[in-house]
C-alpha cells in the first residue's frame, strides 16, 4: 500500500473504508413511522369532526389519545424499541413528548414517588414547556404591540 501523505488522500481512504452512513435508512424509517403516527392522528381527528367537535377540540382529543398511548407503551418498555428503530419518527411527534416524560420518571422511581417520579418527569419536558410557552408569550406581546 502506498503511504498516504496528503490530507485529501487520507480522507478518501477513510471514506472508502468506513461503512456507509446509515442516514438514508434512518431517514426512511423516520419518514414512514412519523407519517404513520400523524396519519393515526388524522384518522382520530376525522372521526372527531364527524361527531361534530370543532377543530380545536378535535386537535386536543388527538393529543390526549396519542399521549396516553405512548405514555403507556413507554411504561411497558415497548416504546423504546420503536424509538430505536424509528429515531426521530417517534421522537418528533407528540408521542416523543410523552416518552420524554415517562422515561426519566421510570428511571428515578427508586428515589420515591414525589421527588423521584414527580420531579424527574420534567427533566426533558420542563425545557420544552419553558421555551414553548415563553416563545408564545413573546409572540403574543409582539402581536399586541403591532396590532
Amino acid at each position: 500500500m502506498k503511504p498516504l501523505d496528503t490530507q485529501k488522500s487520507y480522507q478518501e481512504y477513510v471514506d472508502k473504508k468506513s461503512p456507509n452512513s446509515p442516514i438514508l435508512k434512518n431517514c426512511f424509517n423516520a419518514f414512514w413511522v412519523g407519517g404513520l403516527i400523524c396519519s393515526i392522528g388524522q384518522i382520530i381527528m376525522d372521526i372527531c369532526k364527524h361527531n361534530s367537535l370543532d377543530i380545536q377540540l378535535s386537535g386536543t382529543v388527538v393529543s390526549i389519545i396519542l399521549i396516553g398511548i405512548s405514555a403507556l407503551l413507554t411504561g411497558l418498555n415497548i416504546f423504546n424499541k420503536v424509538g430505536k428503530f424509528a429515531g426521530a419518527g417517534s421522537l418528533v411527534p407528540i408521542t416523543g413528548f410523552a416518552n420524554s416524560i415517562v422515561s426519566p420518571a421510570m428511571e428515578y422511581k427508586s428515589e420515591g414517588y414525589v421527588m423521584g417520579v414527580g420531579g424527574k418527569m420534567f427533566t426533558v419536558a420542563g425545557p420544552v414547556l419553558v421555551f414553548g410557552i415563553s416563545t408564545s408569550i413573546i409572540v403574543g406581546i409582539i402581536y399586541f404591540i403591532i396590532i
Binding site: 419518514f31 414512514w32 392522528g41 372521526i47 399521549i67 403507556l72 418498555n77 421522537l91 416523543g96 396590532i147
Partner: protein, 128 residues
C-alpha cells in the same frame, strides 16, 4: 361502518407525507449534529411557536392537518395561535392566558398519563 365515511383519504396521504417529512428533518438533525434529543424537542417547539407567530405554519396546517399538528412543531404553533387569539380577546393579558389555554388538554394529559404510566412501569432489566 358509519365513521369510515368520515375519513378523507387524500387528507391522510397529505398528512402522511408532511408528517413524515417533518420527522426526517429531525432525523437529519440527529444524524448530522451532536444535538441531544432533548434539545431537538426544544428546537422543534420553539420553531413551531415562531413559525406559528409569523403565520407561516397556518398554511402547513391547512394543507396537512394532523401531519402538521401532531409533530411538536404543532404544539408550538398551538401555543402561539392561542397567545394571538388571547391578545385579540383580552389584550396584553391574553398573551399569558391564551397559549397554555390552547395547549391545556395536551399538557394535562401528558402530566397525568405520564405519572400513571411511570407508576405501573416495570423496572428496567439492565443486562450486565
Amino acid at each position: 361502518m358509519n365513521w369510515l365515511q368520515a375519513i378523507n383519504w387524500l387528507g391522510i396521504l397529505k398528512c402522511f407525507i408532511v408528517g413524515g417529512a417533518i420527522c426526517v428533518i429531525g432525523q437529519i438533525l440527529i444524524d448530522k449534529t451532536k444535538l441531544t434529543s432533548a434539545r431537538i424537542l426544544v428546537i422543534f417547539v420553539t420553531a413551531g411557536a415562531i413559525l406559528g407567530g409569523l403565520g407561516v405554519y397556518q398554511y402547513i396546517v391547512d394543507f396537512a392537518g394532523a401531519g402538521a399538528t401532531v409533530p411538536l412543531t404543532g404544539f408550538g404553533y398551538n401555543l402561539s395561535k392561542g397567545a394571538i387569539e388571547g391578545v385579540k380577546q383580552y389584550g396584553l393579558l391574553g398573551a399569558f392566558i391564551g397559549g397554555v389555554k390552547n395547549a391545556a388538554g395536551g399538557i394535562a394529559a401528558a402530566i397525568f398519563f405520564g405519572y400513571i404510566a411511570s407508576l405501573i412501569s416495570k423496572p428496567k432489566m439492565k443486562k450486565q
